[in-house]
């Protein structure tokens, strides 16, 4: 989550769900919390019962809107305009929390002279390279303080790293994501103007940047009335400040956009100006959609990260451990200890084989050198470059956009391993997919060998999930899995064991990393299940005495400590599985610190030093949370302080201080190089230091704010199987948004197969307004066909006033279609797959796709069957001026296939 990471230093929710009960106003935007997180929504209900205002900002009127105080039906894809309007309102009316902003943010920092704002370049920032569609971020940097009071141990090395950071191939790899725990590195702390008057101060830049986001402009772009905007503005500002706090809640309604990270940045700026970060009832709650999606980035199975948001080594940047650590060595903030975290990780993985002499086996790590994210890999599969693929509890042919392209990828593998509970569509693509029906795929042409390996359920294995507020909770095992069903832990451990046995005795240096790997875990039971607790303990880390460390401050860079994921260090403190703690909530205070364990250091509200004023006193009695106890000489309060416990509020870093010692006693954002929340991001966000409103890649509306229509750095994956609908196209005249329903789960493998859930939402449907139904002749309960440049799908129609067309000021009417994405052909509840309709365009920061907004046509009746479907869609492409989407055998390039290449036959 670079949006949060670049703003505050960590990419996780800043608060916790229960704390919403303390909010005076809750804005749910980019989230349908009541439907997608119903049990978490109890805390919103509780706040409301206590008198809090609840606002739902969403294009659709949902079950969340139904019990909100106010629903704001903005046009799909215009949240930055809305939030930008709120920022302007706050700045213009001087409603920001002044003491907080001056002390805790980079408002006073000066930006270098080379910076040119998007105001002056019609929607672009300085440093744009139109050839590569990328920014060189050098001109966005701070003007450094003189003389520097803090800095790198190795200024030359750090400068070299900064230079390489701008290399296009490095930029492609989403290094900003490494700000998941530790903000983006900066060269030095900035020069400041505490009066905020300097024209190059962040505060003045911010004012100029958002000046055009007037209530009228918001109304025009978002398609709402200025008075509705002003109502939200009043509620939010009246409920922020010393005495009151407002919380913002978002989920994939923000991330799944071509400017997704900037949506979150905009909210971060607003919440920071209002003084709502680090305080009870405030914050930005990122609601994750899967049981351990936070855990899956913390302990990542992501190509560009190592555990704890350490970046995966890059071939152009990180030749050795020194280079790897050069950008952080000695710098202010907790990234200053990067070498200790990395060395400890290498020790955890390679044990005695990791020595100071061999750079702690740093070279054992493979290197990345570009974007190797999932969608790129699918493209490589279609080109025949990937031999084998593991799908582990994931159903991409349904859950990911452009199912057809995904299926073509799978059809060109040598082998595929699917680990799941049910026979999901990604395992049966070779015999049952829509392309079998059209003739684009056939079992006889598909050489992919498929292994379906049955998996254990959550009840049949033990381990931890990290839920949405960073809390690790241990699950005890209830029963043994049936037959061949095994945990993924079992599968990977024994696969590794077999591979190591096969290669035993090998002298090939390429095999050393595998053979030297620490792969010796206690095994339990008849199945020889590896001990999840032993692995959790390895993740926690051990000290020189072999005992579990109590936290990452104990980690060393000399090889005497080992730690599998530094931010999780402490989860096994005192040799106790802290994630398994289950002291009942009713026996604890409101923070309930003794239930599970939260990273970092079991802190539940992040940056909670900011809940006290610079002197360490609570901002108000009503919002008292963590504060300085002068007598005890330490920070105290309801939560564990997210601060060094005994660092005085008046601590001033001495010259030459490094790492955490360079963070002042009044700097709550301890993971940032300057200790401040970033209103302006001089680094860490590749598409601009400030958010700007761009229209989605597939929009039917012209950008009213700038000449620049869409995000200039948007990432595209061109090919016949991923055609884009042109913006402003008459052929694809309607906006489509996708979402979940309470009754189903993502791609449906865990819900469409269950009777009780299937009967509650038994069929794929789309939601349209009565106006669109009339315009296109659609009938409630009957079929409609939706068409894009990718394919056509059919769905039952639900006509509802909850979907609202929008008339813009120039008279243009924007019709919006709602489309839940749970379905496909398998299971009890079936239908076409919504994601087949979508193309893949990506946020350049995160490589996350713009699922939330696309375009399509809709017409009554069922879609064509068989090969007719191909011609039908091709006709649309031709009319829209889109290149052909016809493909050759198994989806490969049609020309090559005709020439006899690329065919496996």
């Amino acid at each position: 989550m670079p949006g949060l990471g670049a703003s505050f230093g960590r990419g996780g929710a800043t608060n916790f769900q229960e704390d919403l009960a303390n909010s005076d106003c809750i804005v749910i935007e980019g989230s349908n919390m009541a439907e997608c997180h119903p049990v978490g929504f109890q805390w919103v209900s509780e706040a409301k019962a206590r008198g809090a205002k609840v606002v739902h900002i969403d294009p659709r009127f949902t079950r969340t809107s139904a019990i909100a105080d106010l629903h704001v039906p903005l046009r799909i894809g215009t949240d930055i305009a809305f939030l930008g309007g709120l920022i302007r309102y706050v700045l213009d009316n001087e409603l920001y929390f002044k003491e907080y902003v001056v002390a805790y943010t980079n408002a006073a920092a000066l930006v270098g002279e080379a910076y040119v704002d998007s105001e002056d370049l019609d929607g672009l920032f300085s440093g744009f390279d139109p050839e590569k569609n990328q920014y060189d971020e050098s001109s966005w940097q701070y003007e450094p303080e003189e003389p520097p009071h803090s800095g790198s141990d190795d200024p030359a090395g750090a400068a070299e790293q900064d230079r390489r950071e701008q290399d296009p191939e490095v930029k492609k790899t989403d290094h900003a994501q490494a700000a998941g725990s530790g903000g983006p590195p900066i060269a030095a702390k900035p020069k400041r103007d505490e009066t905020l008057q300097h024209p190059r101060s962040v505060f003045q830049i911010l004012k100029r940047h958002f000046d055009r986001y007037t209530p009228e402009m918001v109304a025009e772009v978002c398609g709402i009335e200025p008075e509705v905007f002003l109502q939200v503005a009043r509620w939010v500002t009246e409920n922020s400040g010393r005495e009151r706090t407002t919380a913002w809640v978002y989920s994939v309604g923000w991330t799944q956009h071509s400017v997704g990270a900037q949506y979150i940045r905009t909210c971060s700026i607003l919440q920071t100006l209002l003084g709502n970060i680090g305080r009870p009832g405030g914050g930005i709650l990122a609601l994750r959609g899967h049981a351990s999606i936070q855990g899956s980035t913390d302990v990542p199975t992501l190509y560009n990260l190592l555990p704890g948001y350490l970046p995966m080594p890059h071939a152009l940047q990180h030749g050795d451990l020194d280079e790897y650590c050069a950008d952080a060595a000695g710098k202010a903030g907790f990234w200053g200890n990067k070498r200790a975290y990395m060395t400890s990780l290498l020790k955890a993985w390679w044990g005695d084989a990791a020595t100071p002499e061999n750079d702690f086996a740093f070279d054992y790590l493979p290197k990345i050198d570009g974007d190797h994210s999932s969608y790129r890999t699918i493209t490589d599969m279609i080109k025949g470059k990937v031999s084998g693929y593991f799908l582990v509890g994931e159903n991409p042919t349904v859950g990911h956009p452009n199912g057809r392209m995904n299926r073509f990828g799978l059809a060109n593998l040598d082998w595929l391993v699917v680990r799941d509970l049910q026979m999901i569509e990604s395992a049966t693509f070779w015999k049952e997919s829509p392309e079998i029906e059209t003739g684009e795929l056939a079992p006889e042409t598909i050489g992919t060998e498929v292994f379906f390996m049955p998996a254990a359920t959550h009840a049949e294995k033990e381990g931890t999930f990290t839920q949405t507020q960073r809390v690790l909770q241990w699950r005890h095992k209830a029963v043994e899995p049936p037959n061949d069903a095994k945990s993924d832990l079992w599968f990977y451990f024994h696969l590794g064991r077999i591979l190591r046995e096969r290669l035993a005795g090998s002298t090939d240096p390429r095999d050393r990393p595998l053979l030297d790997l620490t792969w010796d875990y206690p095994l339990h039971g008849h199945d020889q299940e590896p001990s999840a607790e032993a692995i959790l303990r390895e993740i926690n880390g051990t000290g020189p005495d072999g005992r579990a460390v109590s936290g990452y401050l104990e980690l060393k860079d000399d090889g005497s400590t080992s730690c599998g994921c530094w931010i999780y260090s402490g989860v096994y403190a005192d040799e106790v599985n802290q994630a398994a703690r289950r002291k009942p909530g009713r026996e604890q205070g409101p923070v309930a610190s003794e239930w599970g364990w939260a990273w970092p250091y079991n802190r539940r509200i992040l940056y909670n030093r900011a809940s006290a004023d610079p002197d360490g006193k609570p901002w108000s009695e009503r919002k008292k949370y963590v504060y300085w106890d002068e007598e005890a000489g330490r920070w105290t309060g309801l939560d564990n302080p997210d601060f060094e416990a005994t660092k005085r509020p008046d601590y001033v870093p001495p010259d030459g201080a490094r790492a955490q010692d360079a963070i002042g006693g009044a700097d709550p954002f301890v993971m940032q190089g300057d200790g401040k929340a970033w209103l302006f991001a001089p680094a860490g966000v590749v598409d601009g230091p400030l958010p700007t409103h761009y229209e989605p890649a597939e929009s039917v509306v012209q950008n009213a704010l700038y000449k620049q229509q869409a995000n200039p750095t948007v990432e595209r994956i061109p090919g016949p199987w991923n055609r884009e609908n042109p913006p402003l196209s008459d052929v694809f005249p309607f906006q489509v948004t996708t979402y979940r329903l309470t009754e189903h789960h993502t791609a449906g493998g865990m819900s469409r197969t269950l009777p009780y859930l299937s009967e509650l939402q038994p069929e794929f449907f789309v939601e349209v307004s009565p106006e669109l139904a009339e315009l296109r002749g659609l009938t409630n309960g009957e079929y409609a066909t939706l068409v894009s440049a990718r394919t056509a799908i059919e769905a039952k129609v639900l006509v509802t006033e909850r979907i609202r067309p929008i008339r813009l000021r120039d008279g243009q009417v924007v019709h919006q279609i709602g489309m839940p994405y749970h379905w496909s052909y398998s299971g009890i509840s079936t239908g076409d797959s919504a994601n087949d309709l979508l193309g893949i365009v990506l946020d350049p920061n995160t490589h996350i796709q713009e699922d939330k907004v696309s375009t399509a046509d809709i017409r009554p009746g069922r879609r064509p069957r068989g090969p007719e479907l191909i011609d039908f869609v091709e006709g649309y492409r031709q009319r829209a001026g889109v290149a052909s989407g016809r493909v050759g055998v198994n989806g490969r390039d049609p020309v090559a296939a005709e020439a006899g290449e690329g065919s496996t036959l």
Binding site: V450, F452, R510
Partner: protein, 186 residues
């Protein structure tokens, strides 16, 4: 005789305080013996719901090594014992009759699934991993050392445990596989 008569509702109705026969007198044998299956379970373990990321506590009741009930854990300060429809249905997730619990194999260009022994499948997968790793190996790319393989890719769901993700990343990295992704990016 008395016992038999007592068991006869009409007798109870005529002789007891429930002359209309709508309550105490109408209780059947099954009613008298009713007991909830949470009370008769052999054990209960604390778990966490596998659907969304709210992280609701679950209590799983087990009898004769079968799950007989999953419901909310009132001890959880996050969920306070409540569950949504998916969480409430999670026993079906475990006990679903359509769940596939044995290995299935589809050979290249095959038209049907075949059965395969688990150990054989593990060996076959290991063979293929080593082969793909070799086939896609790169010591260098564009003159820079990368020591990796482009032959193997992986995509995990975000319902994997932290410990599982950890072993996956560790093993893949040691193999030199880098195209390792997760639902978390989606």
């Amino acid at each position: 005789m008395k016992t038999w008569l007592d068991a006869w509702p009409v007798f109870r109705q005529l002789t007891g305080p429930d002359p209309l026969g709508r309550g105490a007198a109408a209780r059947s044998k099954a009613t008298e013996n009713v007991v909830s299956r949470t009370a008769t379970a052999d054990r209960v373990v604390q778990s966490v719901c596998p659907y969304c990321a709210v992280g609701c506590g679950q209590r799983i009741y087990v009898k004769d090594e079968q799950i007989v009930q999953i419901e909310g854990d009132p001890d959880s300060p996050i969920s306070r014992g409540r569950l949504c429809p998916k969480g409430s249905a999670s026993k079906q997730l475990v006990t679903s009759p359509t769940r596939v619990t044995t290995v299935k194999y589809r050979r290249p260009f095959g038209t049907e699934w075949e059965d395969l022994d688990l150990d054989t499948a593990m060996d076959m997968i290991a063979d293929r991993v080593l082969q793909a790793r070799r086939k896609g190996w790169q010591d260098e790319n564009d003159g820079k050392r990368v020591n990796r393989t482009m032959g193997i890719a992986s995509l995990g769901g975000a319902t994997l445990d932290n410990e599982e993700n950890y072993l996956m990343k560790k093993l893949y990295s040691a193999l030199g596989a880098i195209q390792i992704e997760n639902q978390a990016r989606i």
